[in-house]
């Protein structure tokens, strides 16, 4: 069961995960978070290959990927 969590209390909207996801799974939310920025959100979970590049690159420790590659 794959799932991607974005913690809007931590996400700073830097856009790194969105830019570098090889499958364009993420995009900017259209709603501002309580922090006043547009956080990342999951646009296309189906395309996710669980490569975890977003986790590797997240500079706010705000994103988490659930699921293992061989499931």
């Amino acid at each position: 069961m794959k799932k991607i969590y974005v913690d809007e209390n931590l996400c700073t909207g830097c856009g790194i995960c969105i830019e570098f996801c090889p499958k364009e799974v993420l995009s900017y939310s259209t709603q501002r978070s309580l922090k006043g920025i547009y956080p990342a959100r999951v646009e296309n979970l189906e395309a996710c290959t669980l490569c975890r590049t977003c986790e590797l690159y997240c500079s706010a420790f705000a994103i988490a990927v659930e699921g293992e590659k061989d499931e």
Partner: protein, 278 residues
Amino acid sequence: MKRHPALKYFRFDRPGNPHLWCSGCGIPQVWYYTIKAIEELNLDIDKVLWVGGSGCTGRMCTYWIGDYFHTLHGRPSGFATGVKLANPELTVICHMGDGEVAGIGGNHLIQTARRNVDLVAIVVNNFNYGMTGGQFSPTTPRGAFTMTSQLGHIEYPFDLCELAVTCGATYVARWTTFHARPLINSIKKGIQKKGFSLIEVISQCPTQYGRRNKIGNGMQMMKWFKENSIRKKKAERMSKEELKDKFIIGEFVDIEKAEFGASLRELIEKRRRESGKS
């Protein structure tokens, strides 16, 4: 809500939410890469010491859940040497900024490399002194704009990897924050190496350096690293002009050499044998 895997090793009772680094900063990325290296090597948290100096990079150690040693600006390698001598079983990882390691800490760096102390020195190079507001550092490129080179920087920068190689480091590598996987592998190599390892990480400082030199935000700076990095093997076949303003990445040296602490401990054995004879 599943938490980011880095937070398992994180101290929350410290400044910031969850940390004090700017949006898009490369330092938290290097923080997680270090965690990945520790996890993948199955190290015991209680035997890993993080050492830092002063400054944005220096703060990395204060969020590590294990023992940490937040020391003086530029001097982590000196303090780390003392720790390693008293307890060689510990894995000691030093995170230092370009400003402190190549400026005030220059002597500590070259002496620790020369002695070949068993440490991993991860130098986060963001081309300026970030925490104090973005002044130029000994790695700031000529012509760049910073708070103390507002008319364009006139000094020449260090090549930290070349410096480390010349001083005798046994493992030297350079990557950027974009090159996460090779960087994690280099950190693992550095940890396992019995000798002085220096890993330079070209990192984005979007708030100071990126903004003042109109490179962009964190994401844009990482793209700039991706597009301007050239692997060492390829760079060897290119001309100086082609390599201007490029980052040469890869492993520069990987050798074996007698380690400082081990050599000193041999002297204890030597005295024991000599006094046994007399």
